[in-house]
């Protein structure tokens, strides 16, 4: 059974939730929309289809302290950072980003479980929002994601000036408990049908992913076209850092003067120092680094995860790559059908 709320009363809802929980939502700041903590002064932008950064930061923040060391003489004191204990709601997650959480779970919740991530997952409620107007860069359809009916603890639809809620999980039921029931669910059905029609028109909506799997690992890896594809790549981390599924991280120490703060932060396999050791690196040129990123998404990850791709088709890399090199290029260039 769905719940509903007039759109203009959403801030009221947020206000109420934020008495007990942190609300994270797409918020505009300095001209850009990103997920951020909602406050009364925030500019909420539920109409923005894609935040610049994906929603993954809510569970896997770009920087997080993990442990602090205090050194004295030959002695070391170890003070692990606290894991999250407060509840939060992340609101307005799109179907693609919602899928990315499942993919991150595969990494961080597999044995041994990452305590920081696990705590965030445990305390976070994911409220997703259907995409009324998908864009040409969207290709979530390739990965079995329904932008018209996204997953999450709660699914929302904005139809006209009403926002509809459907709880999908226990957390979701708790979230929607106080909302009034929807009188009529047909606007949602109408909207879904509409969206489904638009999704059919996506230019990259139906990619051929044949041959991207563990069984063809060596073939894909040894494809001679990688160097051609990677030639324009700047080796920046834009694609990685806007990507909802990229999960590589680095662990670093910062000397604060009084102690050593160890933190982890997002890293990118596109960076030249990613695998650099004292005597060199096993990925010396951008070609190898570029290949690594896409092999991971399209071959290695599925090989280890029952064929599940580490891409959700959000299309952020299509929009943000400074030189317009992205996963579509790779899929189209290396796809098996081309060889056939």
């Amino acid at each position: 059974m769905m719940k509903q709320l007039p759109l203009d009363r959403l801030p009221e809802l947020f206000r109420k939730i934020s008495e007990k929980k942190t609300v994270i939502a797409p918020i505009q700041s300095a001209g850009q929309v990103n997920f951020g903590v909602w406050t009364e002064d925030s500019i909420l932008r539920l109409d923005a289809l894609k935040t610049v950064k994906s929603a993954k930061g809510a569970f896997f923040p770009q920087v997080e302290d993990i442990v602090r060391f205090r050194m004295e003489g030959k002695k070391i004191d170890i003070h692990p950072a606290d894991v999250l204990t407060e509840e939060f709601v992340i609101f307005g997650v799109r179907g693609c980003d919602a899928r990315s959480f499942e993919l991150l779970d595969r990494v961080f919740l597999s044995d041994p479980v990452d305590p920081f991530y696990a705590a965030r997952r445990q305390h976070g409620t994911v409220v997703t929002l259907a995409c009324n107007e998908p864009e040409e860069t969207c290709f979530c359809t390739n990965f079995g994601i329904d932008a018209a009916d996204p997953a999450g603890d709660v699914t929302c639809w904005i139809a006209g000036d009403v926002i509809y809620f459907r709880a999908n999980t226990e957390k979701g039921i708790a979230f929607t408990a106080d909302l009034e029931s929807a009188e009529n669910e047909s606007p949602v059905e109408e909207l879904k049908k509409n969206i489904t029609e638009i999704l059919k028109k996506l230019p990259f909506g139906a990619l051929n992913l044949t041959g991207f799997d563990g069984d063809h690992l060596m073939e894909r890896f040894n494809d001679p076209r990688w160097s051609e594809l990677a030639r324009g790549c700047l080796g920046c981390g834009t694609c990685t850092f806007v990507c909802p599924t990229c999960q590589c991280y680095d662990v670093r120490d910062f000397d604060t003067g009084s102690d050593i703060q160890r933190y982890r932060c997002w890293d990118s396999c596109m960076f030249s120092d990613f695998t650099l050791m004292a005597h060199g690196t096993n990925r010396p040129t951008q070609t190898e680094r570029f290949r690594q990123r896409f092999m991971h998404k399209l071959v290695y990850f599925p090989s280890n995860n029952e064929g599940l791709y580490s891409c959700v088709g959000c299309g952020r890399c299509l929009e943000k790559c400074p030189q317009s090199i992205h996963i579509i290029n790779v899929i189209k260039a290396l796809g098996v059908n081309k060889d056939a």
Partner: protein, 323 residues
Amino acid sequence: MQEMIINRLRELLADGEYAGVIGWAQGETPFDRTPNLFNAEGLDQLRYDSFCGSNLSKYLVQQASKTEKKIIALLKPCDCYSFNQLCTEHRIDRNKVYVIGVGCKGKIDVEKIRKAGIKGITGITEDGDLLKIETMYGEKEISRKDVLLEKCLACKGKEHKCADEVLGESEETCSGDKYAAVRRLEAMTAEERFEFWRGELSKCIRCNACRNVCPACSCIKCVFDNPNSGVQNKAAADDFEESLFHIIRAYHVAGRCTDCGECSRVCPQGIPLHLLNRRIIQDVNELYGDYQAGESIGQRHPLTDFTLEDEEPSVIDTRGGGK
């Protein structure tokens, strides 16, 4: 013009004297233009049109040293400054590059079209100053001059400062006072300026796109990647580090930045990074005389130079800002 360029390149590439051409290739969307190296066979993939905004000069740092043969580069008038600067810094061997200056009448920023609320773009055609945009939600129109890249609004003119030959016509697209935005910031109070920059820089995700695209940032190993530099850092852990990265970056390119505007073009978060560099350029010009980095090869830039009569640092107290 694209036809003309391809024909000329076919001629040049015919006898094998050149290792290839650095140009723009057709990407997957109608407006994706990806830098690539072309040989004679691949020329049909080369595109030159209003979407070729990226500056190709930095690719020559690697390519020109790799090949024995000369390489051909397609450079727009503004790209030539970066090219000259890289030659000055011995990062490109001028003798190994044949520069074809390609005409430019301003390049289109697709991001600006999106920002104007046009969604689901599937095609763009130009009709004089009018852009006809096909989208998944019907046809839209927008004025070309409203969606030019930010860098085109600070156009340095139509002259190619380093071309061995020039193909096509250029037009200056400068929108007037290029320091207007800098002055607007200067007119604010220190507190307002601080808030402005904190707002902008807090968006930074440290993707390094600005650095990696910047023709002045051609270091073999950047200080931010070097564990021994004392500032090595991969993610901004707090406000300070967000600023630190951009202050140091702006300072490192001071005197060498040609104001090519690539940093702002590639920033996924739309941070107006060029406003940092432009302020330095403005300072340098006002304090030490007019200087345009990359105007010619072999220049000595203002921070590696001095006069006995230079202003004292306290001059800043009396200039703009300082409130």
